[in-house]
Structures are given as C-alpha cells and as structure tokens.
C-alpha cells in the first residue's frame, strides 16, 4: 500500500513517542524514516524493529558515552537514532577530515538520514559505510552500494561516517512511500500509546463543543 510521506512521518513520530523517546528524537526518527522511504528503503520497517528492540529503554543507555574516539554505548549497542543525531550535530568534525566511528550500532541504515543532514550542513557529500555497504548522500540524493541483506541488517559491528569527494550514480527521491500493512500496524501500536483515552468530559470540554452545531 502506498502512503504519502507526510503520513509516514506522522506515523513514525507518534510511534517513536509511544516507545518512550523524547520529542526531539521522535522528530529525528520521523524525518529520517520519511527520508529513507522517499528512496524506497525500508525505513518504517526498520524503525518498527528498533522501537521493539529498545522499547522504553532510557536513551542515555544507548547513547555514545563520549563524542571523543570511537562511539560506544554503555549498554553495548548504540541506537542509530541517538548516535545518528549526535553525528549530525557533530557534522563540522567531519568537515575537518575526522571519521566518526560507531561501534555496535543497531539497524545501521537508520543512521544514513543523519548523514543527509550533515551533508546539507557541510554542503558536501557524506559517506556512511559498514560491512559491504557504502552509502553516500549530498543531502538530497543518495548513492547506494551493497547487498540488500547487509543494507537492512539488524546490527553493524562498526560503522564509519566521513566527508567524501562526491557522488557516483546518485538516486533521486520519489515522493511516495510504500508500507506493508503489518509494518503500519506495528508502528500504529506504538503510536496508540500516545493517545489519551477519551472521556465524556474531554469529549465535551477538550474540543470546545457544547453549542449546537446543526444550524
């Protein structure tokens, strides 16, 4: 089934919130998922996997302990949303030739949208690579190299991000996403946690009704 990218973004944001992430990271998850979906990549499915893996865990457990040296999480595995955000926030370091290395990162494809943000900030291309996978983006387009299985891997032992020379065979985004109904259902199950149960009081007070509207 096809979805608008806005729908994918909205669904992802609510799902991330339902899994306990702070709002700022939910926004990152939503934008990133939308970005991946626009290239036909399974961002929504991987997000659902990640939210199930890290459901309601404290973000700090899955964050880099330090931005110096290789990035590692206290709990042993990095969240790609948190480490990816930190990578985007640290974009200027890559401009100076640094490589950011993430050790043991879950669902590495979810890091790639943050490289697009970094690329826009650096006004140059940024490469993300793990195993046999190399992805380069200038922020708008994406070059994909590597087998699907590795691309959609649940885990990468080591992932590197760095500023790179340029783009070969770039792919442009399409403005439509596809989503299996089971992925949508998994994300919506998380999203559902963010909705306050309706009460008659909120039904009347909350929406401001009460006057006749049939006139």
């Amino acid at each position: 089934m096809t979805f608008s990218l806005n729908e994918i973004e909205a669904m992802s944001k609510r799902a991330a919130r339902g899994a306990g992430l702070p709002w700022g990271l939910c926004e990152e998850a939503a934008k990133g998922t939308r970005w991946l979906a626009s290239f036909g990549l399974p961002g929504p499915a991987l997000l659902a996997d990640l939210l199930e893996l890290n459901d309601r865990l404290p973000p700090v457990d899955l964050s880099p302990i330090s931005l110096s040296g290789d990035w590692r999480a206290p709990a042993g595995r990095l969240s790609p949303l948190i480490a990816g955000s930190a990578m985007s926030d640290s974009a200027m370091r890559m401009d100076q030739g640094d490589t950011i290395t993430m050790v043991n990162v879950s669902f590495p494809l979810l890091v790639v949208p943050f490289a697009s943000g970094a690329a826009l900030r650096l006004q140059g291309a940024v490469t993300v690579e793990w195993g046999d996978v190399h992805l380069t983006t200038d922020g708008l387009n994406l070059c994909i190299q590597g087998p699907d299985a590795a691309l959609n891997a649940a885990h990468a032992n080591s992932l590197r991000c760095f500023a790179s020379a340029g783009m070969t065979a770039p792919k442009a985004p399409v403005v439509r996403g596809t989503l299996d109904s089971d992925v949508a259902a998994r994300l919506n199950a998380f999203a559902h946690r963010t909705y306050a149960p309706a009460t008659e009081q909120s039904r009347l007070l909350g929406a401001g009704a009460g006057l006749s509207d049939n006139d």
Partner: protein
C-alpha cells in the same frame, strides 16, 4: 517608482516580541497577502478557464459533479459528491462520519474510473483512502438556517431575503479541508514546484473556490426540482454575497506551533510589506483615495460582521470605534498614521489598519507572496557546534517573556495539549483535573525554553550544544526551536500556550486571517466559524477587475 519614494527612509520591521503575542495574533485581519486573494489574483492574471464537466445529481440531491479549472499549463478538478444526510447526523465536529457534501481536488481531469474509485472513498473522508492524484479532501454541511430558505424562495419564484443571506453568509460550511498528504493524498513536495502552488494553501483555497460554485449550482438544482417551471434563478448580486463557511476547532491551533518556519515566513512577509509601505515618503492622491475607499468598505464589513460570542462582540465594538475615530485627512503618510494607530487604537484596529495600508501598494508588496512557503530541511538539523553561551543568549533574547514567567504557578501551566484516542485530534485539557499530562504534546515552547535555560545554567559557556544534547536528549525539541527562532524571528508565539487564560481561538483566527477569512464568529474559546470568498466573483465572473478587493463589501451593498 515606489523605490524612489522609499529612498533614504528605513522603517524597521516590527519587533517579534510585540507582533507574536497571542492577543495581537488573535486580532489579525486578511490582507493582500492572504492566500485566497493571492489565488484569485493569479487566476485572473493568468486567465484561468473553468468548466463544469459533470453534474449528475438526482432529485434527492444525491450524485456527483465535476468542476475543472484550467491554468495555462494544467488542469485541476473539484470532484464533488452530494449526499442525502439525515439531520441527526449533521455535525461540524471532527468526529462526524457523514456530511451533506464531500470533495476532492483531483490533479488533472478525472476519468470515469477515477470517479468510481473516488466515489468509494471520498464520501468516507478519514475512513477512506485517496492517492497521489488527489491534492485535497474536504467535506461540507449545509447551513440549515439558510439552505431551506433559499430553496423554498427560489422554488416559489422569489429571490431569497438578502438580510437573511448576509446574517449567515454561506449556504454550506466546510468542516475540514485536508491537504499535504493527508489520507494518502499527494505530498506538498509533489506540487510545490508548480508556480500556482508555491504560495501556501493554494490547493485548499482552489478547492474551496470551486466548492462555492458547486454549492450555488446545487441549491439552484434543488430549487428547480421542487419548483419546476416557476422556479426563479438565483440573482447574481445575491449569490455573490454567499461565501463558504468554515467551522474550525482545536485541530488547527497546533499548526502554527508545529510549522515554525512556515509561520515565520507568513508573518515576515506581512511585516516586510507593512515596513515597505510605512517607508513611503509621499502618498499620491490615487493611493490615498484607494486607501480611504478600502477603509470605508472595511468599516462596512465590520458592521456586517455578526457574532454571538461575547469576546468577539467586544472586539467588534473596539474595531468600529477605532475606524470611526480615524482621521482620514491626516496629511502625513503611512508611517505617521501607523504610529498614531499604535498609540491610539486597540490591537484589533492596529492590525486592521496594517492590512489596509497595503491595499494601494500591490506593485510594492504582492511579490512577497512568493516568499511565504517554507522548506524546513535547512533549519531542521541542529547546529551542534553552537556553544551553550550562544544558546543562552538566544533564550534570553527570544524567550525573555518565558524566563520571567513563574512556571510553578498552576495558572501558568493549567492546560495541556494532548491527542485524543477517538479521531486522533488535538485537544486542550486541564492538567490538574484530567489524566492527560502523560499524553502531553510539545506545544508549550515557553515552558520548555525556561526549563532548558535552567538546565544549562551550570554548564560552561564554551561547551557545544552537541555535548549537552548527548546527556540531555529531552531538550532536543526546544533546542531545535530556539535555533530556528534565532534565524526566523517570527517563528515562535511569544506567549504562554498552556496558561489558564489561553484562548485557542487566537491561534485559529491568526491562521484563518492568513487564509483570507473574514467575519470571525467564535462559538466558544476554542471553536470558530468564518466565511471564505464572501463577495468574491464566481469562476465565470473572475477577471482582473474583480479578483482582488472583493473581500471588502461594495458600499452600494449597504442596503
């Protein structure tokens, strides 16, 4: 020409700390830069053609119709479905499940297969599904007050009573107009590079413009069905007064908070326009005459503005008094007049004047409509190298009001925005009386900025925000906003959006004024009815002479 008259003068943009207060935003008026007027000007300028390619509606008022607008390069079709709605199901509330009419704006001209597919989905609204060839989805209900009167009058061979038409202002009111990818429709990115859709909300405004023609035709059809040969044809001078109503609840209020860059661009365009006009050294006779005409017509509009809600009646009284006391013979140009207004008029009067001042100067300000859209991509990413010292400075400058607010006082955080389980719509609840805090949406930037300010108090000035966020991801949302406001000063409402005293209608009014709506009629502090396209030409009457100032009633209409 106008550039010369501007030489040497500089009038600064109004301070966002004044402009972005809720009381002022809640007093905004439509202007040349309102989205409806941007559209009608373009349609006339580009000589868009319109035709009705289907009107298959039976004697019960059930069926479909298609209205197509042809731009110089593309076509867009309103596909309208008319229904026979039992009165007990007629509700403006978003939780309604059936409507008098439902619509979609189709990208192109629909085939019979498209109509079949749409007929199975559009009438269901949220319970249906559309595709990327659909640009909007909307629905409307009849004004029971007026519909029967118009049908009965025409069927009896008479024209409807103008006073009754003016009292209501519309035959149908939309209760939602969805665009930008909702319910599976096309994302804005798919159409944003089309010049006609560059300014915001042009899809929605086109949909409503065509809806108005459909509603006029439908009421005539129903009258013809009832009255047969003796039925009168609705007089064009009467139908012109009929706009399309809109009933808007809380769902729209968070929009301005959720789209800070877009909101900034709307306000910044209007502020830039105002500053340009205030910078004009000498006004020409024709410009003064045009201003005076629009002022008189605006005063007439205020007199015709019916509202039962006490808050609005008070605002109306202020506006009427303000307009009556305006010295139309003021010898100095617009800056003087504006500064006088700032010192002497209510916010309602000041903002009415600010919009009116733009009227004689289309050549100077209309191009700003091309800068009201927003691409959020560049501002979304956090600049992690910014120091906490710089962030502190932004918070002190742009959230000063919030840092001076006592957030421990219950009245300052009495409300919470949340999303309800049914219909997934934003609601505003009582934080201390309802079990909603766990579900709170991030719609209180002032409180969050003050919390962030306290959280960085013990951190060194030279620490990059990236380091801080690694420890405190809970501040990522508001830190992003602060960086946005630093670049886009009109992005943030500089007022408490969760205070006991907050009036969500201020946010609704602000957004609807940018749409170009008039005759705001709040039904409560969080639900407002308005009129769109009242006085506007119908498609066949649209031309450069009729395309722009229709929003002001004609003085000869004062009967």
């Amino acid at each position: 020409m106008t550039q010369e008259r501007q030489a040497g003068r500089h009038v600064p943009l109004r301070d966002p700390r004044d402009v972005m207060r809720l009381a002022r935003l809640g007093a905004l008026h439509q202007s040349r830069l309102s989205f409806m007027r941007i559209l009608t000007r373009r349609m006339a300028r580009e000589n868009w053609r319109f035709n009705r390619t289907a009107f298959e509606i039976n004697t019960q008022g059930v069926g479909h119709a298609v209205y197509t607008a042809h731009t110089p390069t593309r076509s867009y079709s309103l596909v309208a479905f008319a229904h026979d709605l039992p009165p007990e199901q007629r509700s403006d509330r978003v939780i309604a499940t059936a409507w008098d009419a439902t619509f979609t704006l189709f990208d192109g001209v629909p085939t019979a297969d498209d109509i079949t597919r749409l007929s199975q989905n559009v009438p269901l609204q949220e319970a249906g599904r559309v595709s990327q060839t659909e640009l909007s989805v909307s629905r409307a209900n009849r004004s029971v007050r007026l519909w029967e009167h118009v049908v009965a009058s025409l069927a009896a061979g008479d024209q409807p009573d103008m006073a009754r038409i003016k009292a209501v202002g519309y035959l149908m009111r939309t209760t939602a107009v969805y665009g930008s990818g909702k319910l599976g429709a096309a994302d804005r990115e798919m159409i944003a590079d089309r010049p006609e859709f560059n300014p915001p909300f042009q899809v929605e405004m086109l949909s409503v413009f065509l809806t108005r023609a459909f509603v006029r035709d439908l009421v005539q059809h129903m009258a013809n069905t009832r009255g047969g040969d003796q039925t009168a044809t609705l007089d064009g001078n009467i139908s012109r007064h009929m706009g399309i109503g809109n009933s808007t609840g809380l769902g729209m209020a968070p929009f301005l908070l959720n789209h800070p860059v877009l909101f900034n661009n709307w306000v910044a365009a209007r502020e830039e326009a105002l500053a340009r006009v205030r910078a004009i050294k000498a006004a020409r006779d024709g410009e003064i005459t045009l201003f005076e005409q629009m002022l008189d017509r605006s005063a007439l509009s205020a007199q015709q503005w019916h509202s039962d809600h006490p808050i609005q009646i008070k605002k109306l009284a202020q506006l009427r008094a303000d307009l009556d006391s305006t010295d139309l013979r003021a010898p100095d140009p617009w800056d003087t007049l504006y500064l006088w207004a700032e010192a002497n008029l209510s916010l309602e009067g000041q903002e009415c004047l600010a919009s009116l001042l733009l009227e004689p100067y289309g050549a100077l300000v209309d191009e700003l409509s091309e800068h009201m859209a927003a691409d959020n991509t560049p501002t979304f990413r956090i600049a992690g190298a910014m120091t906490l010292g710089a962030l502190r400075g932004i918070l002190e400058t742009d959230y000063g009001w919030a840092l001076n607010t006592d957030w421990s006082a219950p009245e300052n955080r009495a409300r919470a925005w949340y999303v309800s389980e049914e219909k997934l719509e934003p609601r505003l609840g009582d934080r201390f009386k309802e079990a909603i805090e766990d579900y709170e949406q991030p719609l209180a930037p002032g409180r969050d900025a003050a919390t962030l300010f306290a959280a960085i108090a013990h951190w060194p000035d030279d620490t990059p925000v990236a380091e801080f966020l690694l420890r405190h991801p809970e501040h990522r949302h508001i830190l992003r906003r602060a960086q946005i406001v630093n670049r886009a000063p009109y992005a943030e409402i500089r007022d408490n959006t969760i205070a006991e005293t907050v009036l969500p209608i201020d946010m609704l009014r602000c957004k609807l004024a940018f749409f170009g709506a008039s005759h705001f009629d709040p039904r409560s502090d969080r639900w407002v009815r308005i009129c769109m396209y009242g006085g506007a030409p119908f498609p066949e009457d649209l031309c450069p002479d009729t395309a722009d100032t229709w929003v002001y009633p004609q003085l000869e209409d004062d009967t």
